[in-house]
Symmetry: C2
Amino acid sequence: MYVILVYDIEESRVAKILKICRKYLKWVQNSVLEGEISRVSLKKLQLELKRAINEEEDSVIFYILRTTKYMKKEIMGQEKGGFDNIL
Amino acid sequence: MYVILVYDIEESRVAKILKICRKYLKWVQNSVLEGEISRVSLKKLQLELKRAINEEEDSVIFYILRTTKYMKKEIMGQEKGGFDNIL
């Protein structure tokens, strides 16, 4: 499956959260990571994040795609992270 | 179609960019909007943004889904924006 992860994390926890996310996904832009990931790895990522965030203050959204066949990605302006064409 | 938009915009332009995006999509989190949008409206949105951003400094990514049938959205921690179940 393919995951787009966006987070909104309190400053003091950002570095830690980003480090966790980077183990599983590719950084593409400020607060955004994406990548192919297995169901098991996604569960691991979510477990690690659950322990690291403050659920009263932070927010993480996972867009989980069973296939990228129906998705197109378009970038306007700077391409910040590494980018493989996912289609 | 369904669009997830994430932006990374220089501070001085954020308010203007957000205002444009909000005309077409729903704010869900810091720097993230999403929503159903027609092809024509998406083109309009992209045109407005192209005029408003600085392409040397800013970045906007559009994840354009032909269908949300294969997408699941999971939120961890705070749900910041209004949220309709998209499935």
